[in-house]
């Protein structure tokens, strides 16, 4: 299993569109994806799970993957989160 932290950068946090992008990206991988915020761990391929993490800007998420493409999955999902999920990242 591979596991790495990423900080939510886009200004609105993990709202519906951003969460959808994440879930779509996660679905590309065969590995099982988990996303944790503190104690809470959710299925990274469930949009409802992502929405309910309520990850606002600045939140640290720990993304883990387990499966044949776990390394790729974690690298690419962390990059997606760190680059603002396809939206204007906010440097502040």
């Amino acid at each position: 299993m591979v596991s790495r932290a990423a900080i939510v950068r886009n200004s609105l946090g993990m709202h519906a569109r951003a969460a959808a992008r994440f879930v779509h990206a996660a679905a590309q991988f065969q590995s099982q994806i988990r996303v944790a915020r503190g104690e809470r761990v959710i299925d990274g391929k469930s949009i409802m799970g992502i929405l309910l993490l309520a990850a606002a800007r600045g939140t640290t998420l720990v993304i883990s993957a387990e499966g044949p493409d776990e390394e790729d999955a974690v690298t690419s999902l962390c990059r997606l989160v760190e680059t603002g999920l396809g939206e204007e990242p906010c440097s502040a």
Partner: protein
């Protein structure tokens, strides 16, 4: 057997199987027999399939053209739709608790909503709305995808007694009241809008029961005693027999004659219908309505956000209405909605994105509602005006503005109408001139009726709100319901003032509140010189009978008498003496002193 005490709205008794309607989620719970569990799961899956296709097609449609920035939102909704936390949980509930799919979806959503509500970030907390939208779509699609969800209770077999916690007009409009034997509600007072509805439909009804939905069990036999104001749960056979023995046999309905009603001394009175959905035109016709005096356009939404109702869908609805009623006129009241108050904290995100237009009921009667809201969100009003102007090609149509409080609002709408007409012409669409009217339901509008008369083509008094605002009575607060007195001297003076202003200004004036559907009050209104009324279709035949039995001159004399009196009690006693028998429809001649 258990007796719950409430406020009786209509006399008469009724008994039947209880159907519980929990308003908040618009979900009804009923048990599913074990052999139908698979069918119920099938319904859920069919609804998921239909919802998927709709969302895909919306996404495709908008992703090429304007509004393409919204496409990812529908992408998110598609993912929500397929998420096991929603559908999977609902299926589990159907399997383990043997409940209907509507209820299961609602429960699954409630569980998710609880978690959302605990979220601190206000923007993310409100993403619950995205899930809610999907849930609304799933619920809608549980009904085989045909037409609008016209009859909310169509899966419940046979007649029944409806027990609701509360019932908003938009939900009430989705119920086939022909199958409701009796009606009981936790909330409400005598003047609550749904109580008014039950009274006009002559369904035995009790409101203000507080916890009837918690105490009654769905499917058990319940009885309503409209005389004592009691809801009887699981009544004994003796109680049931003696109760129903008092119930009069239902009268046979024949189609009513149309055209104006004439008093014995030859005064013509126009009777139009208040209508909530385009399909109600048939009902209006059956009761002999002389037109649609008030189409409450916001009820077309059926609980969906205003943004969801596009121009073409509105256009189709208006055309159906106008063609169904032609050659008689149709008055469309623009959306009378309220915007929910702004969120308390946080600023992130696009503010316009977060506002949700409230349809369920007016929570803050002095807030941003009616024409105020329409002018604050002109893009939504423009969409409605375009649809109305386009539909006006199909037949006579009038536009009525709700909640007008000053001349400025009328002028602003006129300007928008001009702009819209230019736009339509530029698009080579016909846009005939459409009469514009203002509701008189705010006291300031009543007081400047003469000034408004110069700006509009017609005026319409909305008595329910005018009474509420003039007498400072919250209609949903049962503690003050005794202060809701249509015959208050202040009301009679205000009505006379408006009637005179309209007459001097040469604009037609109608009355479209509930006051007109009560024969005794209708007599007073006719006495004050009013001649155009719009009411619940079911009240039209009674009004016609009354009008044809009276002399307008007698009523005018009686009204003059009331205007000299200083209390509601004195006015009521005076009317009981002079206009006695009006309710039975007997002639008044010779009764005036």
């Amino acid at each position: 057997m258990q007796r719950l005490k409430g406020i009786a709205i209509t006399e008469g008794a009724a008994a039947g199987r209880a159907v519980l309607l929990v308003h908040r989620g618009r979900a009804i719970r009923f048990p599913i027999p074990a052999e139908r569990i698979e069918d119920e799961l099938g319904r859920l899956d069919a609804s998921r399939g239909r919802s998927h296709m709709q969302l895909e097609s919306i996404k495709q449609r908008i992703s090429g053209g304007p509004g393409s920035e919204l496409a990812p939102l529908f992408d998110a909704q598609l993912l929500i739709l397929e998420d096991p936390m929603l559908i999977g949980r609902a299926a589990e509930l159907i399997r383990t608790e043997h409940v209907n799919a509507e209820w299961a979806i609602q429960r699954a959503f409630d569980e998710i909503a609880q978690v959302f509500d605990a979220i601190e970030d206000p923007y993310l907390r409100e993403r619950k709305g995205d899930v809610e939208d999907v849930v609304g779509r799933l619920r809608m699609n549980l009904h085989d995808g045909s037409a609008a969800p016209r009859d909310l209770l169509r899966d419940v077999h046979g007649p029944f007694v409806l027990i609701a916690d509360e019932l908003s007009p938009s939900v009430a409009a989705q119920i086939d009241w022909g199958r409701v034997r009796g009606f009981a509600m936790d909330a409400g007072s005598r003047t609550y809008h749904t109580a008014i509805l039950a009274r006009s439909l002559q369904i035995p009804a009790i409101v203000g029961l507080h916890d009837a939905t918690a105490r009654a069990r769905a499917g058990e036999t319940v009885a309503i005693d409209g005389t004592t104001g009691e809801l009887i749960l699981d009544p004994s056979p003796e109680v049931l027999r003696s109760l129903l023995a008092r119930q009069p046999a239902p009268a046979e309905e024949a189609p009513a004659p149309a055209g104006p009603a004439t008093t014995r001394d030859g005064v013509c009175i126009r009777l139009e219908a208040n209508v909530e959905l385009p399909d109600d035109v048939a009902v209006a016709q059956r009761y002999g309505a002389d037109g649609i005096g008030l189409f409450r356009s916001e009820l077309m939404l059926g609980g969906r956000p205003l943004e969801a109702l596009g121009e073409d869908r509105q256009y189709e609805a208006y055309v159906r209405l106008v063609e169904g009623m032609a050659p008689r006129p149709v008055t469309i009241r623009t959306f009378d909605l309220e915007e929910s108050p702004p969120p308390r904290r946080g600023t992130g995100g696009d503010a316009a994105d977060r506002r949700q237009v409230e349809v369920e009921r007016i929570r803050s009667p002095l807030g941003l509602r009616g024409i105020r809201l329409s002018l604050a969100r002109p893009e939504l009003l423009v969409r409605q005006l375009r649809a109305v102007l386009r539909a006006s090609v199909a037949g006579p149509i009038r536009i009525l503005l709700p909640f007008v409080s000053g001349v400025e609002e009328v002028r602003a709408v006129r300007q928008l109408i001009d702009t819209v007409r230019h736009e339509l012409r530029a698009e080579r669409l016909m846009a005939p001139d459409v009469p514009l009217g203002a509701m008189i339901e705010v006291p300031s509008a009543a007081l400047i009726a003469d000034l408004l008369a110069r700006e509009v083509d017609f005026l319409a008094i909305g008595t329910n709100d005018l009474i509420q605002y003039t007498l400072a009575v919250d209609r949903t607060d049962e503690r003050v319901s005794e202060f809701y007195r249509p015959l208050h001297p202040g009301m009679l003076r205000l009505l006379r003032l408006v009637r005179r202003a309209a007459a001097r200004g040469g604009v037609p004036l109608s009355v479209c509140g509930e006051m007109a559907s009560d024969p005794a009050l209708l007599a007073v209104l006719i006495g004050l010189g009013l001649t155009d009324f719009s009411m619940t279709p079911g009240a039209i035949p009674g009004a016609r009978r009354l009008i044809e039995s009276v002399n307008a001159a007698d009523l005018r004399a009686a009204a003059r008498g009331t205007l000299a009196l200083s209390t509601v009690d004195a006015i009521e006693q005076f009317l009981a003496r002079t206009v006695a028998g009006v309710e039975q429809g007997s002639p008044l001649s010779g009764r005036l002193s």
